[in-house]
Amino acid sequence: MRYTLRVWRQRGPEESGGLVDYDVDGISPDMSFLEMLDVLNERLVLDGEEPVAFDHDCREGICGMCGLMIDGVAHGPERATTTCQLHMRHFDPAEPIVVEPWRAAPFPVVRDLMVDRSALDRIVEAGGYISAPAGAAPDAHAVPIPKADADAAFTAAACIGCGACVAACPNGSPMLFTAAKATHLGLLPQGQPERLSRAEDMLTAQDDLGFGGCTQTGECTLVCPKGIPLETIATLNHDVLTAALRGR
């Protein structure tokens, strides 16, 4: 199959960029979106042109490195799917596919479709951990945890930090990410001692980094490759409010 791509090309963080049209031939419906870009890049290299830079690593939907705005939707048209797990059979060869990088002030474009997402690491550094003497791994049943809590914590912990929530949010807010990283600890016994300070500190860090504020539009959860629910944000807000009321 043959596709027309309109790809964002930008040589560096300070350079201006633009959409460039490419035709890419010999695409099988079973190829992933990234494999399709590989085919394009092989051709570009053979033609002596610069290949399109894009982030990727595991290519099995668990590392959070890949992430492209495909036709204006983060990770493309399929729900709960990373770009690497998105297959070309979902695309109509008659329609050009527009590929852009995540857009947010705290996510500067490094080159082409690659953005620097280390702002998310700054949020985690602000409190996304537990300060406990780790030692050897404890037995799984040493601390009893209700199944419902374990499930809710695991749902939040599934966040791979890809940044799709920020890319999709009309406010450019990483609230779903912050909520996932804060609440998966806050729901478990080990995370209790720092529950309130964690929520407050991570939210403050998020705001200080220049991200937008959450208005619960719900765009994030719809593009989240791990399907993290919007209620996660309510849980974080609950902790932030409790912290504020207790005048920590």
Binding site: R6, W8, L19, M69, D71, G72, V73, V98, E100, R103, A104, A105, P106, A152, A168, P170, N171, G172, S173, G210, F211, G212, G213, T215, Q216, T217, G218, E219, L222, V223, P229, L230, E231, T232, I233, A234, T235, L236, N237, H238, D239, V240, L241, T242
Partner: protein
């Protein structure tokens, strides 16, 4: 945002319920107006209670607008380069129209105050003759249309506003997600219908 919105929401509920007095005959609505002015009058003086309410509402509106402007400005700063291709995706219509919907409601409130509080834009415009003013208003189809558009905008605003406020205040746990969504929609519909029955009641001759 959530707290100022909650104050405005409580007022909207009281206002909607009070309006329904229009169905209880001409005297009922006027008497209700007198009651609101006499309420707590030994302490606050005649009409004093209404002025307290007005000051609280004005403060809430100002805070609500300041918060909205701050959020909009932060959002713009957070995405200096917009997407070249961005379809109207995913999220609800109510969520997408919060900001402009709010502007429409604010403009309507100005008109509404000039119409039925100050009486300047009212075809009857007699102070205290609330029922007669209302009836004179809504016999004109274009006034009913203006009120309908504003009330529907308010309905959408409340649908997302209630949902969002409950979430912001952390009331909604994961287990109560469907209930929060349903409550927000249900309350928004009740408020919208409750406000619209009066103008349409006049238009169709049920309230006279």
């Amino acid at each position: 945002m959530a707290v100022s919105g909650a104050i405005l929401f409580l007022y909207v509920v009281a206002h909607m319920v009070g309006n329904l007095k229009a169905f209880a005959g001409a005297g009922a609505l006027d008497d209700y107006g007198v009651f609101l002015r006499e309420f707590l009058s030994p302490v606050l003086g005649y009409g004093g209670f209404l002025w307290v309410v007005r000051v609280v509402l004005l403060l809430a509106v100002v805070l609500h607008m300041v918060a909205a402007v701050q959020l909009a400005r932060r959002a713009r700063k957070a995405r200096p380069v917009s997407y070249a291709h961005r379809p109207k995706v995913q999220g609800s219509y109510a969520a997408r129209t919060m900001r402009w919907g709010g502007v429409i409601i604010a403009l309507f409130v100005v008109y509404h105050l000039l119409d039925l509080t100050a009486g300047v834009l009212n075809p009857n415009g007699v102070e205290g003759a609330i029922h007669a003013n209302v009836v004179a208003d809504f016999q004109r189809w274009y006034v009913v249309l203006a009120y309908t558009l504003a009330v529907v905008a308010l309905g959408f605003h409340l649908r997302h506003g209630l949902f969002s406020a409950l979430r912001s205040l952390g009331v909604a746990s994961a287990r109560r997600a469907a209930a929060v969504r349903g409550t927000a929609l249900g309350v928004a519909v009740v408020i919208t219908v409750g406000f619209l029955v009066v103008p349409f009641g006049v238009l169709f001759g049920i309230v006279r």
